[in-house]
Symmetry: C2
Subunit: 431 residues, 2 copies
């Protein structure tokens, strides 16, 4: 996999993949385990540092390579040893990039993440806790739906018993939808549930998997309760951020610091050395009996509004028996209402007449929707469209599906939509 | 409208609405025109400063009020006088918050924005240019559609003749959609077209209307060409930012600095005193003949994907004869493909078989979609779904409607979608 020149230099130094190697270049020294070169420049020697991070060092004439220690055969017993003592933390694997790792033997990418895999790739987590792994399924998160949410909620619910906290490893694409779902589906949650993923698979030199996972385990030990997302908060490998599960949103396709809290602060920053800095108060651990409330109504839609949005699309959802619709309106929560061709007022009225739950969020993402500023908004609000304050569209959608899963009356459903269950909606503080 | 205490103090000082007043409080002094109190705390005396900004000063015992000058009757001739000399700039009004202003006589809010209105509310713009106003229509932007876009494009096209630049005053909700539409609908644009709006109506003390409008006129005089949005770039009244028309997005429901460039830098910052700071190079003025290319295919859809998105919605769009669909996928551009109930692969294949143009953007907003990272993406891309790089979803939707409006072949339409017309798509610079 490495270039011919690099392979030759490694051979001369007697270093094989998996061995501990020392690289000296221009006075700088790196030491770590030699990894197979999975992609990118074949002149970069990639090693795994003691810190758990990978680094790629460009090989040039003059670079010195030295074998430090030959690879040791895996010590099966070590897992048992590290597991003695320390708090119990459950790690549930559901798939995604974080679940893919390089196999030191073959250089291939393996999808499973067993205890043994964990031990070899992130041994530091066993210094933090007695971590038990459970492979629930292996699904890339773009393929997840409410059935997966229910299974994850059930697994988390089971693992809450006997563990100090639960970590859920998950693909990043829909992680924030799942974190919202878990926030609602497990009630009276007195312990932390931490979702974690990685933007770069762990076989890439720049992977964020190690620090994210390590800090997720650390987060699961904190005196907090509720569902959180734990991902890198900067481009560096310094720290991760804990974000409330109902406020997290993936805001970049590829950057390691893709997850941002929307209309909320970070809950905490966890540094590489384990220090924790809190930015707001969140509920602490509570000695309560959790309840599983894993219901969801799939006949719920999230509809983004845009100029020329055709009312026929809304009519179709009504015809198809959808029970609830969350709009991603414009600005403070607008829909086009008055245009003879594109005005949505009559379709909205029809939906309301048929008892469909309609609610408004904003495609701006940041800020609050507000039904009283403009005439058009008052029209919608007075007819019964719920304005969801500063709730983000994706969370509003997940919440509505969960609320409608309870088969309660429309009035009760509206009441639940506006009630704060997990930090998803806040009181208006400023006008 | 003011509290009884304030009304009494104003009466004693002999100050009426419209008069120039001096307020002294705790050693600080404000001087300006007394405005009627439109909303908020009735103990705040609201005046319009010389700078054009409004300020509210809380009245308390000890605050000194002094009449500086009684309101003068409007000088009709002044407009003609100020208009002599200076470059010609056209200002096209289309409605929105910026078009609402307080009437000093009645305290009511008036919707029109005539030359005379402008003169009394933002006299500074006549120091900058010979501004001619044109009221095209008065539509709140949530009600705008492609027919309005065409009318605005036509009006801009007309005003390009004989003016150094064109300013379009527009509601903020869909301003970024319109700026994208104008970016495509006017070809060979050798002058600046500046969209401007306000988040707070000009009758509110915190209005951003004045600085935005003043700086829009300044921007229209710059040596740049193309379509830009000019709005506040911070919470303060210090400066506005010029954002490329295809990169602007309203990212907050109410803040004055709601507009952000996505996957782009600001083009320039314009300070209150007229200084301009550029952050990137943009095309300068060019002596070219503009062409009006105001076409749009309304049978184009923007579809945001979310977990449990039902394939029946996509099938409906196919049944209804939609000619193009822009997906807001997850992450790097994913759709759920493989689930027996929610997988979209067969619907996507059906759409492609029927010659529907399908393209992919990301709901992350920031970053690029990329078809080669994961297997699911390769599946979509190899079957003909276009990946639109770093184009933002709303711009991609507007562009697709414009492209399909040309009734060209599917191949030609694909080629146009991937071609950069107005900075809407950039070459991949980093892996």
């Amino acid at each position: 996999m490495y270039s011919r020149v690099v392979e030759e230099a490694l051979r001369k130094a007697g270093v094989d993949v998996g061995d501990r190697i020392r690289i000296e270049k221009n006075g700088e020294i790196w030491e770590g385990i030699l990894l197979p070169r999975p992609e990118g420049n074949p002149d970069h020697i990639v090693i795994k540092l003691n810190s758990g991070y990978n680094v790629g060092v460009r090989y040039e004439p003059g670079v010195k390579l030295k074998l430090v220690e030959k690879k040791k055969p895996k010590v099966e017993k070590k897992l048992e040893e590290t597991r003695r003592g320390g708090p119990n933390i459950a790690l549930i694997h559901t798939g995604g990039t974080i679940a893919s790792r390089v196999d030191y033997e073959t250089g291939g990418v393996s999808a499973s993440f067993t205890d043994q895999d964990l031990l070899s790739s992130v041994p530091e987590i066993f210094d933090e806790a007695n971590v038990s792994s459970r492979l629930l399924f292996n699904v890339m998160s773009e393929d997840m739906n409410y059935k997966h949410w229910k299974k994850i909620a059930e697994a988390v619910f089971e693992e809450l018993q006997g563990n100090l906290g639960v970590v859920v490893a998950h693909g990043t694409d829909t992680m924030a939808y799942t974190s919202a779902a878990l926030s609602f589906m497990i009630r009276d949650l007195g312990k932390p549930v931490i979702l974690v993923g990685s933007q770069r698979s762990s076989d890439r030199p720049s992977s964020d998997a190690f620090l994210n996972l390590l800090n997720a385990v650390r987060a699961a030990k904190l005196d907090i309760s509720g569902v959180y997302v734990n991902m890198h908060d900067t481009m560096s490998d310094e720290s991760t951020a804990l974000i409330r599960g109902t406020r997290a949103r993936k805001m970049h396709t590829s950057r390691r610091d893709a997850f941002k809290p929307i209309n909320d602060d970070y809950v905490a920053r966890i540094y590489w050395d384990g220090r924790v800095e809190f930015f707001q108060e969140v509920p602490g651990r509570r000695d309560v009996e959790p309840r599983l409330d894993a219901v969801f109504e799939p006949k719920t839609a999230l509809v983004k509004i845009y100029p020329n949005f055709n009312p026929e699309i809304l009519d179709f959802l009504i015809d198809k028996g959808y029970r609830g619709i969350v709009f991603e309106g414009t600005g403070l929560g607008h829909l086009p209402l008055n245009d003879p061709e594109f005005g949505l007022l009559s379709s909205v009225e029809r939906a309301l007449d048929e008892g469909i739950l309609l609610a408004m969020t904003s495609q701006c993402l940041y800020g609050r929707v507000h039904p009283y500023v403009y005439t058009n908004l008052r029209k919608l609000s007075s007819r019964g469209v719920l304005y969801l304050g500063d709730m983000i569209p994706e969370t509003a959608y997940v919440k509505m599906g969960w609320v409608l899963g309870h088969d309660a009356s429309l009035e009760k459903a509206k009441e639940m939509m506006l009630k704060n269950f997990a930090g998803e909606i806040s009181e208006r503080s400023t006008p």
